[in-house]
Symmetry: C2
Subunit: 757 residues, 2 copies
Amino acid sequence: METIKKHLKTETGWEVINEHYDKMQAITEGSNFMIGNGYLGYRGTFFEDRKDAYVGCIVTDSWDNADGKWEELATVHNALYGTFSFNKTPFSMDQNILDYSRTLDLLNGLTKRGVKVEINDTIFTLEEEKFASMSDKNVIAMKVQITTSKDAVITLESGIDTDIWSINGHHFQKETPFKYKNDLGTISKTNTYEDTIVVLEKNMVAFGKSVQKKSGVHKRQKTISLKANTPLVWTKFMIVTNSNDVLDPLKEAKTIYDSLISYDTVFTAHCQAWEDIWNKQDIQLEGNMVDQVGIRFNLYHACIATPTHKPLPIGARGLSCQAYQGAAFWDQEVFNLPMFLYTNPGVARQLLKYRYLTLEGAKEKAKKHQYEGAFYAWISGKTGKELCPDFFFKDVITNRDIRNHFNLWQIHISPDIAVSVNKYVEVTKDEDFLIKYGAEMVFEIARFLASRVDYKPRRDRYEIIRVQGPDEYHENVDNNAFTNYQTKITFDIALSYLNRLDKGSIRSIRDKIDLTDDEISLWEDIKDKIYLPTPNKDGVLEQFEGYFDLESIVPASKVTERLIDPEEYYGWPNGIAVFTQCIKQADTIQLLHMYPELFDEETVKANYDYYEPRTLHFSSLSPSVYATVAARMNYLEDGYRLFKKSLMIDLMNTNEAVSGGTFIGGMHTAANAAAWQMVVLGFAGFHYDQHHFSLKPHLPTSWKSLQFNLNLLQSDLRFLIDHHQIQITPLKMNNPISLFINGKEVIINHKDVTINY
Amino acid sequence: METIKKHLKTETGWEVINEHYDKMQAITEGSNFMIGNGYLGYRGTFFEDRKDAYVGCIVTDSWDNADGKWEELATVHNALYGTFSFNKTPFSMDQNILDYSRTLDLLNGLTKRGVKVEINDTIFTLEEEKFASMSDKNVIAMKVQITTSKDAVITLESGIDTDIWSINGHHFQKETPFKYKNDLGTISKTNTYEDTIVVLEKNMVAFGKSVQKKSGVHKRQKTISLKANTPLVWTKFMIVTNSNDVLDPLKEAKTIYDSLISYDTVFTAHCQAWEDIWNKQDIQLEGNMVDQVGIRFNLYHACIATPTHKPLPIGARGLSCQAYQGAAFWDQEVFNLPMFLYTNPGVARQLLKYRYLTLEGAKEKAKKHQYEGAFYAWISGKTGKELCPDFFFKDVITNRDIRNHFNLWQIHISPDIAVSVNKYVEVTKDEDFLIKYGAEMVFEIARFLASRVDYKPRRDRYEIIRVQGPDEYHENVDNNAFTNYQTKITFDIALSYLNRLDKGSIRSIRDKIDLTDDEISLWEDIKDKIYLPTPNKDGVLEQFEGYFDLESIVPASKVTERLIDPEEYYGWPNGIAVFTQCIKQADTIQLLHMYPELFDEETVKANYDYYEPRTLHFSSLSPSVYATVAARMNYLEDGYRLFKKSLMIDLMNTNEAVSGGTFIGGMHTAANAAAWQMVVLGFAGFHYDQHHFSLKPHLPTSWKSLQFNLNLLQSDLRFLIDHHQIQITPLKMNNPISLFINGKEVIINHKDVTINY
């Protein structure tokens, strides 16, 4: 057993084990030990837990707005609920615990609890395991096994808990309970959109027929005389269906119910699905088991957070809770997408198709603010309408609302999507996507940007005024380097598509969106004349105009001494960071991270050296970006330090669960996916610059070797990298791949290639 | 005696009398009862007062920055200081006062005190009077007359008090005292610019030779045995000279000293100068003596605040104290200038020439912020460099500085100047000014605006983004109607000058400022395509984009219930007015006030009805604008109510003396001058629309008649208006004047004209 940190351990690098029970860690552990399958997320709680323990089954595509402010995913009734009593003494975790462990089995997507308690001289052993089926999205399976050291009478209750945890109000109208073949279910409608959600239990143990409803639980009972050391096995399924997926969710739930034969058959199919995932996405590390399990823990969460059954957003907290409204931010394209793009491009396609399906929402948003084209929502749910309210933080000193402008000024979300579309198309050669969806999206984004830029006649250039860059502490800034470059690149891409696509396709897309020659001329002009900041004499790009004039505080953390209230927001309008160079997260470095080819290495270093000490890393998005850039330029100490910081955000629970009165706990999905970026784009130094693939590894000293697969140009390659050698194994080749390794081109075809570096 | 309000009375409409002594009113009365001549202001204090009573002699062109933040005019040493003792009992206002009055004699620019005290059974009578010579700018004269009811020994001290009141630090290096012909003087250098200021007393009574210095006073003594009922007269002059006016201020002070023969000779010349002023600027009102004295009180202060000896700014508090840095704001052109323009155009020329002389400062400011041309300072001292600091208000709750953007976003100051230049040129036909100064200023302002506007290619229009309009509670707004219209009109004017001026003049101005054809083409384009908001379906112009979406609170005063701290600022960044339609002052109405010809009467009414209830009138500039517009459209009740509010701002002391820790007391110079606007432009309905003069009177019911003079096209006319008739008397005609009265044209030549209306 290897210790990860404190009470967390691993045995093989495929599991996280905690042998220390701490009730206060319910929020954190509920997220970390959760299960999910991209359709539903079930928090890592225990069957007997209720809402005070933050039990939650969060279902995709269940958006509802209960409090008039926060549209969020619903937490549905909990059909895994149950209780035990042992000779009439109810079991709970408050009893005398002799032995305890919980395990997150990453390989098989399984969460387990083992507990041994002593009650009246009898030792009572309980094993619980659960998984959200990766092969049947609507099903969660649970197996509980109970053994006693002496004969005992066990009373088992099983039912559906309708009194559930929800952050911003109750999302269901009064439920309709029903019975199906002796098991219980509820039919509920959400308040806002009247989606019907059916929750149905299936017990593989026969319970009594009489149904009780008590404090929100519909339940049945069963009493068993249990012999000493003879296990009692209680298997239970929870089925969740949603009218957004099927016409008749009740019928669908019953059909699924009937199809469930046994725990083991469901489990076998589930494990096979996970095996397929790991075959594509796993990273194998030799030499450091803590890093190994940390990486897999993050990849696991990145996967279970990602809907794959239909085009839907990845929530910033995935399906670990309702925080951040189950909605997508720029994180989706910039942090989550790359892993899928290079390992499982079908998922990447789905995510981008989601953006295509929300184009109307983006166009409405643009129109509302007197722009044209597609202004993507800062917080995007199902329809792509803007879910980010105008007021969401509180000034904790005055208790007044603060008007932040994430929804209006953080415009880089649109070009972020455009450049991702293009990268997807280039790496996958998915021309079908380009013609059907991609070109139209990019054109509508270019159209938005053309209506958003300002032409300064006396400077003969276009500028982008009044924005908020990735660093959210500085709002209302001009010519944010990241935003301006992203915009320029978007126009490059849009214009390239006009030549790249066949005339018929272009004609039909242009007709569809009524794209005029005048607009295209304007795009040409903007492309040529948009202002792109250049490095100053020290090689540093200014984050935005006037940034260098702000007070420099190094290290940035010193600024916290100025807080009046520890809860106060650092940014707009008058937070402690506003008039300083202290930034929340990578901003200019985000640009260098995405486009190292645009700047020479000296410039990258100069910027890293300048900005890193000025960065507070108060966004979970920040450390991974710096780590990746640091690793690539062989700043191994910094790179590894920040890699660990990012890798352990959730495992070590380093971020706040509540900020300014708003729950922001749960999994940091972008940081989870960024683990892949740090390793592959950072330490392995893999990069695609729109023309060439390249590799330039710098491995941390404790790592012996690194192995991962990439899917490039529809071909599968395996990479095995140690401190001296790179071994590339073609797995399935559809196209020869050109790869630049430390600057030297290698063509991979059907043979293994080994290169010393 | 007619009561103005509370203890304030008038006898003839030419004086303000207060018979109630209240020590706590020192700040207010010191301003209200002050004397001045546009070169120096001497607060209405008593000769024995010291700095705790806010004694202050403020001198133009003495800018200094003692605290590193506020550049302000210096208060100079007080050479009118003196004390009395009566049989060894020192006289003070804390004694048993039998009788008291103070009078501001508006006709003669004189401030007086009469006091009768009883000290040990003797009645002691004191008469003090002072004036700042209107004919000799460097001189203040004081006459004190003492009578006792019994024989008494009087000890008189006379000297210079160097321990003076100053708001933001001490402005002088250690003074050098000197003696001239037995009188005392000091020579002092300011800290920042090392200007030398000489203060010299001249006593017309012989004092002892021995000079004492005690607690900051250089003084001499004299003891007199005074017979009962025999007046003792002490006449004293204070001479102030400044190295900014003369090469050798000491020599100049001595020359002036030698020229002063007697109080009466100086007083006679002074009264003659005031007679000349009143002949031009007086407004005579029959029927309401309170209004009459109120108007004259304001005109008096508007005059004494205005430097005429050389081109210098009118301070927002004139020379009544150091508040607002003795500097000019947009008030100067928009509030102060019209009275001079139409009654005493030489003064208007001087004020505009001041703006010409500060063109370099405005160009530097533009350059500093990456603009071209002339971006005039929001707070403009001698050089026109920006005196407005970035941070000046405090958040009183957190004690953090607030970054307001008056200096950067309140850009309308520049076009405000341009349109004033043009109005001056049109009304005076001063072609010399136009060629020497005016055209160049207007061109540089147009140049600034051309670099400031943004072209929105997809809307094919120019917009003005991120400004602060006259309503200072809403910063960071777009397309403020007032600013956009002022800008458009500035381009109209600039382009008209290119045709209007002779080719030689134009060539030489264009060569001087290197004005290219390209720039002129751009100006044409902006003139044609600048976005000008139009009234909505209810006829209301939106103050800025998005204003109508803000919370409507009517009446605006209700918003004050939301204050947490009574001292907190209402505006940026998170004050209580920011997200509401509550505005500090006239903004859109300012536009309708200046250009009623641009909108029909229905529109003016709709806007007035919409905006007035949403206006807090928390700027002293606000009520007069609404009053003028209301009067013009015959909203007599509102017009008269707001006229009184504006008229009485200083007399009734309705505004705060301190805000957010900053002293903002003193005379509200713009409101003082606006009294003239309310009467002549409002109730008499006089207007010049760049083409025609017009008159459309609506007199308040209590006014029998109204009489004033105007100087139009270099001719002098007298207007006498009652409720039915307008009588126009040509006084000095150089040009026939066309005048539209209620829409009908009348040509005034050499004969009186009487029109019924």
